[in-house]
Symmetry: C2
């Protein structure tokens, strides 16, 4: 398997993009990534597109060919593959693109992710998102995503003493980071009291514990490391790519306060990269709900199990802390267009490793990690990137 | 890239499977394939699942993890990836699984395809299928899939003299083949007059020109060729795997009587396999409508452009002809559970190459081809298999 690097990146502004359709968003970001990499259409060997639910959100499947078409590549007839693993669809597209280059089957490959979520009512959107859980054994009985994560939060609080305030600190930190990110959906700073007094969604989770409904797209261009310097002055190496699965339904898990898919994917990724969690300077993790970030920083090995809440409270995951987590603002403040999130995470890590992250730049960042979760943990993807 | 072989196969009965859910169908076929290959769960490195629209048909996304879960593999946390390219999703799963093994990243990989289509009304199903076309520029203006293929048929008839009877001959042949296939949805033989007098769908296509709405699943197990004989007495080599894309909308095509995606994928596949169309003994091609098979046998290079109709009429694509096309009954008579079709095609070719196809066995078949199309030709996949 060959070494693979990221030679170009693009990301749209995240938010309610009512003036842009799904195809507009992905073409906007694709052009940005191609220009950043300085490649021509003719050089591109394949596309991988992460999208969770074009079928439900915009009544469009066959997203791979659609994107190749609207990117002006259909005349070249290049292979274009859509992959889906719910909210981890973007991370999965990055992994499949990585494997295509690593295997030697392709040289220049684009991994993109997109979701257009605001063309439907919030009820329809919530129902579409619920299709990431087990429809027959969870949703049919009334479970929604906030409810599933609320059950996880309750048990985590009871077993480990995680507090309501510590959950809120995740949102406060991510809004602080996000307000320095030009593409973020929200640029408002918030306080712990704002979170605790915001409307209840599923006890103990409140509206400011939840990531929003978002339109957006992101893209990265991959190449074999040995030719990456032809395209980029600062190619970023992908040191590891790992994927793991788990039961879709929470009730089939060994323990709902740990996402085993994250644990397995992280172990594989650290082994591939020959690194440990202590080596990671920056991480974009899957904070679909505030409890999600606490699980992530524990399950990835940054902090012992049960100590994610206190670590957050002590600022150890803020810019300047032990590991800067979600400098983009995370899913919470940057926004969560589900199919795009995994690629946006890579976009942010590349910006940081290049030293192009502006006001939120982490000084001397050398190694970064992305962590993208599907559903309540049925799928997890972990990538490790290096300057 | 390593040589890859198919060491196990499974396929459910196709039809209206009201007693089986999506997960039931894919587990049924997965167990059959694993038993056929004689592998254990622990040996499996990865799953690739083709599914077009679980979101629309059964309100379930995150199909990869769901299948790993219900196959009893979630405790092993193996990677499971859903891919989608409309009606070519199955062929795409086969290709991604092939690349995973060929690249050396994985050894034993399962490629499966599934669609559960009869839980919704036929109107909802037709609308879900229309998501394979360009929603904004075709469906919005009233186009349905039969209408798109009807336009292709009309121009093909006008330009090349293809007759109404020749279209019907495709259905007659495929029903004849299908009535010998135990898994087929239909076991009725039909005559040319039956087709011509069947209810009109989109002129000139009538109901017996159209593939049906079907539930079903199929799976194949892949391994590196150098260890395939440990598992199977008759491993079948995958000599080539190729994928190509084209514009989603018909009106953006160079010529609607040729599917350029098929032409490009076939060229790549024949080059990889170092073979020509004349070397193919059996082929499973994408006859979603009767005109689809005529396009396919021309675009794959079996017959010159415009001569697909006459070749069919002369029996050159029947069992015993130049190339036996759709011995399974094709999409028309065997059925078309869209995400499963590409894998069922490989299942049929493997049965034939093993000499296990019963009454419809093609004598001395050595090389077979599968051809799977997404939408009206936005994606095409071609695989070449050898005994």
């Amino acid at each position: 398997m060959r070494s693979v690097s990221i030679i170009g990146i693009g990301c749209t502004r995240f938010g309610e993009r009512w003036g842009s359709s799904l195809r507009d968003l992905v073409v906007e970001t694709g052009i940005a990534a191609i220009e950043d990499a300085g490649v021509t259409g003719e050089a591109i060997d394949a596309l991988y597109i992460g999208n969770m639910s074009g079928g439900r959100f915009v009544e469009q499947e066959h997203i791979g060919a659609l994107i190749a078409d609207y990117a002006g590549l259909s005349r070249l007839h290049i292979p274009s593959t859509r992959v889906e693993a719910a909210c981890a669809s973007g991370g999965l597209a990055l992994r499949e693109a990585f494997l295509a280059v690593a295997s030697g089957y392709a040289d220049i490959v684009i991994a993109a992710g997109v979701e257009k979520m605001t063309d439907v009512s919030s009820g329809v959107a919530a129902d579409a998102l619920a299709a990431a859980a087990d429809r027959e054994w969870e949703c049919f009985f009334g479970a929604t995503f906030p409810a599933l994560y609320a059950m996880i939060a309750r048990l985590h609080m009871r077993r480990y003493g995680t507090t309501r305030e510590q959950l809120a600190q995740v949102a406060v930190k991510n809004h602080h980071h996000g307000h320095m990110n030009p593409i973020a959906q929200y640029h408002t700073e918030i306080k712990v009291d704002d979170v605790i007094n915001s409307p209840l969604v599923a006890d103990p989770l409140r509206i400011l514990d939840c990531s929003p409904i978002t339109d957006g797209a992101a893209a990265v261009v991959l190449a074999p490391t040995d030719i990456a310097s032809r395209y980029s002055d600062t190619p970023i190496r992908i040191l590891a790519s790992a994927q793991a699965s788990d039961s879709l339904a929470l009730h089939d898990r060994r323990d709902i306060t740990t996402l085993d898919a994250t644990v397995y994917a992280a172990k594989k990724a650290f082994a591939q990269a020959r690194l440990t969690p202590a080596d990671i300077d920056i991480a974009e993790v899957h904070d679909c709900f505030t409890i999600g970030e606490i699980l992530a920083i524990e399950d990835l090995g940054f902090f012992p199990k049960g100590e994610g809440g206190i670590a957050t409270e002590e600022g150890r995951t803020s810019i300047g802390g032990d590991v800067a987590v979600n400098t983009s603002g995370g899913l919470k403040a940057c926004g969560h267009p589900v199919g795009a999130t995994g690629i946006k995470q890579a976009y942010e890590i590349v910006l940081q490793l290049r030293g192009e992250a502006g006001k939120r730049q982490v000084s001397d960042a050398e190694i970064g990690l992305t962590h993208n979760v599907g559903g309540s943990g049925g799928t997890a993807l972990v990538h490790i990137l290096s300057r």
